[in-house]
């Protein structure tokens, strides 16, 4: 999987683009051969809308964060193009105060697009630095502020924009063929990004930001990347748009178009590039038809009167109906090539790497590791929440190659301890040392980057991603496709690699979560209640899996579980917590006979105590 886009992920992007591209080009040829020039104009508008929506989809679709501000980048692209490519005479006639170097600029088609993209990307980078750090609901508002700010500038920086009067005379270079080619290119870039390592990681943050951080993703950084790319694409699309409309003014980059573009995205399916294209088609042609109706039409003997505002009305209704009937839009999260694969998958289902894990024998217990070096250490860890002390000065020491069991009754602090050592929560007091590094107070993704992986008590998979994508989203850059195959194979996930995580049975989800942690080849692996809700045979299988991981990867493991049978069989040492303190620590047989442990589990007054 070296390089930004793994080869096997490139294939669906190419196929998906090929199918959509063929349809777009076929449509173009049909329109061109037809006699109506208005059909040709509408089709160009549709293709430009495809570009604009795909550009927005690149951010909203992959990050799951709503942006109302993208039209600002479109406007920037349009103004850059107008200022750069209107012929000099026309430009100085409209804007006499323009600096000479701008007035004399006469950029060609491609240079104008590139300039638009670059400048939009710069603005996106500046503004995005603030936006991507915010909470998700706040971000939507900040993008709205971006729209208002940009609109204010377009309206008032009249030296350059002529505000509401607008600019005219942009060379119309967006022909039918050129528009089709660029639209296909946008679809391809959109798909490439979606399938790329960064795009996959961004989609993973959409599903679950916390577990993304736990597999080493810097959530803010991948969001920032998607935002800038999306802004650049929007700038480029704005440039193509400007080279189609000849003249425009500041009021065109405001609410009406934002609404129309978001409608396309919502109706088509905001998480899918295919959906963006379909949404653009539905809304563009609906708008076109309705605006004709608004002019007043004759249907047979009836003459419909002129009406206004039906377009906005119809789009609004369409959004509401779509959200009620298909909340994820027409295409949902599917791409056109997913559908093809789904159909093909019914014919031949691949079987490989299924459950060759059960044959690991019990003798796999490594020799005792009493004097092995410490790989993870917590010293005097205290964690207080409002009024509650969850950890009250716990020491924990994990030695190289061992499996340490962490047990204790509900509320004894086991999960909190895992959260503190993995960087999900900051300790109130105490230190955490991973390898030779003091990682106290580090964020989860930095700790993960140092070789610590974990699972969660209530499974936190990237539920809308496939099993394979879940593992790939966590894979380090160095992992090859074969490594992913191996890990999927170990956990018997080869058969279900293309199924979405949320559709998998519970036990399989548990295995997938461990696979996702293991692909990072961690030196320390934390498993939080991996056997919860499993029956005996499932927990036996889990036992074999954990042993296999330990011997294959040579990692050290901390397991929290309530299934003491599993813990006793699996662990080299066991540490018992109660009320946020360590009450016992030792080998399984010592712990099993320790009255304090029985008491902690079954309560004081136990006859065994």
């Amino acid at each position: 999987m070296t390089g930004p886009i793994p080869l096997h992920r490139l294939r669906p992007a190419v196929w998906g683009t090929a199918v959509i591209g063929a349809l777009l080009v076929a449509g173009m040829l049909a329109v061109r051969s037809g006699a109506s020039s208005s059909a040709g104009r509408t089709y160009v508008v549709f293709l430009v809308n495809v570009m604009l929506v795909v550009a927005i989809q690149t951010f909203i679709g992959n990050s799951g964060i709503v942006s109302f501000g993208h039209v600002a980048f479109m406007g920037i692209g349009a103004y850059v193009t107008a200022l750069g490519s209107i012929p000099e005479a026309l430009k100085t006639a409209q804007m006499p105060e323009l600096p000479a170097w701008v007035a004399t600029l006469e950029l060609g088609f491609v240079p104008a697009i590139v300039a638009a993209a670059v400048i939009a990307a710069v603005v996106a980078a500046v503004f995005g630095g603030a936006i991507v750090r915010m909470a998700e609901s706040t971000m939507a508002m900040a993008t709205l502020a971006l729209l208002v700010i940009a609109h204010t500038f377009f309206q008032n920086a009249t030296t350059y924009t002529r505000g509401a009067v607008g600019l005219a005379g942009i060379p119309t270079r967006t022909t039918l063929g050129v528009a089709a080619a660029i639209a296909v290119a946008f679809v391809f870039v959109g798909r490439l990004y979606k399938e790329s390592r960064s795009g996959l990681r961004l989609r993973a943050t959409r599903e679950d930001a916390l577990s993304s951080a736990s597999v080493g993703t810097n959530v803010v950084r991948v969001r920032y990347g998607g935002w800038i790319l999306s802004g650049a694409l929007m700038g480029a699309a704005g440039s193509v748009w400007a080279q189609n409309v000849i003249a425009f003014n500041a009021n065109q980059f405001y609410f009406a178009i934002t609404f129309a573009l978001l409608a396309m995205l919502v109706v088509g399916g905001r998480s899918s590039v295919t959906g963006a294209v379909v949404g653009a088609a539905v809304i563009t042609f609906m708008t076109d038809t309705l605006s004709r109706v608004e002019q007043g039409v004759r249907i047979g003997p009836w003459e419909l009167p002129r009406v206004t505002g039906t377009v906005q009305f119809a789009i609004a209704l369409l959004i509401i109906v779509t959200l009620i009937l298909r909340p994820e839009g027409i295409f949902g999260r599917w791409e056109v090539d997913d559908l093809a694969r789904r159909l093909a998958g019914r014919v031949r289902s691949r079987r490989r790497g299924a459950a060759d894990v059960a044959d690991v024998d019990e003798a796999d217990h490594l020799p005792p590791v009493t004097d092995a070096p410490t790989v993870l250490e917590g010293r005097g860890v205290v964690k207080r929440f409002e009024g509650v002390t969850a950890l009250d000065g716990v020491d924990i020491e994990l030695r190289d190659g061992e499996v340490l069991g962490l047990i204790g009754p509900n509320g004894s602090g086991k999960t909190t301890l895992l959260n503190v050592v993995s960087g999900v929560q900051r300790p109130t007091e105490g230190r955490v040392v991973l390898g030779a590094t003091d990682v106290t107070g580090w964020s989860a993704h930095r700790v993960a980057g140092r070789g610590l992986s974990r699972t969660f008590q209530n499974i936190r998979l990237f539920s809308e991603l496939t099993a394979r994508e879940n593992v790939e989203a966590a894979a380090p850059t160095s992992a090859s496709r074969a490594d992913v195959d191996d890990v999927l194979g170990w956990f018997g996930l080869g058969d279900v690699e293309h199924q979405r995580a949320r559709n998998l049975p519970y036990g399989v989800q548990r295995r997938l979560e461990i696979a996702r942690a293991v692909i990072r080849r961690p030196s320390v692996l934390l498993l939080d209640e991996p056997a919860a809700g499993m029956n005996e045979s499932e927990s036996d299988e889990l036992l074999a899996n954990i042993r296999r991981i330990r011997s294959t990867l040579g990692c050290s493991v901390i397991v929290v579980d309530h299934d003491l049978r599993l813990i006793m069989k699996l662990c080299d040492r066991i540490q018992v917590l109660d009320q946020g303190r360590t009450i016992a620590i030792g080998r399984p047989q010592e712990i099993a006979s320790d009255p304090r442990v029985v008491e902690a589990y079954l309560g004081a007054g136990s006859p065994a105590a």
Partner: protein, 255 residues
């Protein structure tokens, strides 16, 4: 506070038709089946303990009875008429109050306001205020802190508040989810003493509790759940120690 069970005199304990009857209940969360075919009866005036290790489905059982979760199959009957599918607020209106795991007091409301929220289903405003005063007198530690934000209370105080808040609606039946969770032993003593008193007041209780010995000491009957199924049930004193340890320590489950 002898009139905690506001719905007339409590029937003779253990007699006649069950007050609450759960029949073949099945609850799933997405891919996970949390309860499969769980049945149990609770008769008026008794305390029934639901025991079992983490993940056995005890909390799911209480939350389903309380109307927070919708069962896939099965029926819940309360005082002879069906309860399953009712919204949580309707279940409280019928006289069943849940004290949730982790207490869930309203941290930004005062102690007194928390109690008043518990009286939402009742129309007589003055009586609700009198009841609140009664509880603040019964728990002096809460009385001292009546105008303090509930989020500043200690765990044990929060637990007392959560129970008192549930009783503000004068329920016939109380569902208690892990009332001793995370509390110091001396505080647990106090909570269990309170549970006994409530029984004497005539409140029927379904108790989910990890502290098995405490639970059995106070309960009349018990059911043991494991991986979403009832694996043992009977009078509290006759439940074999072995059965319990086996299910808790994860030995001898159904495969």
């Amino acid at each position: 506070m002898s009139d905690v069970a506001g719905n007339g005199t409590a029937p003779e304990r253990g007699d006649g038709a069950p007050l609450l009857s759960v029949d073949s209940l099945r609850v799933t969360y997405g891919a996970v089946t949390a309860l499969r075919d769980v049945s149990l009866d609770v008769r008026a005036g008794e305390i029934v303990a639901a025991l079992g290790p983490n993940g056995a489905g005890k909390t799911t059982l209480l939350r389903t009875i309380a109307g927070v979760l919708k069962p896939q199959a099965g029926a819940i009957t309360f005082r002879g008429s069906p309860l399953s599918g009712s919204a949580p607020e309707a279940v409280v209106g019928r006289g069943i109050a849940l004290v949730p795991e982790g207490r869930h007091i309203f941290p930004g409301l005062t102690v007194e306001e928390n109690l008043l929220v518990g009286g939402t289903t009742r129309s007589e405003r003055d009586e609700v205020r009198r009841d609140a005063d009664g509880w603040l007198a019964r728990f002096p530690i809460l009385g001292e802190r009546r105008s303090q934000l509930a989020g500043t209370l200690s765990g044990g105080e929060q637990q007392q508040l959560a129970i008192a808040r549930a009783l503000m609606g004068r329920p016939t039946m109380l569902l208690l989810d892990e009332p001793s969770l995370g509390l110091a032993p001396i505080v647990v003593d106090r909570i269990f003493a309170l549970i006994s008193e409530l029984r004497d007041d005539g409140v029927t209780i379904l108790l989910v509790e990890q502290n098995v010995h405490r639970a059995l000491a106070v309960a009349d009957r018990a059911v043991v759940l494991s991986v979403g199924e009832v694996v043992a049930s009977g009078p509290a004193e006759s439940l074999a120690e072995g059965d319990l340890e086996r299910s808790y320590l994860g030995i001898g489950r159904k495969g």
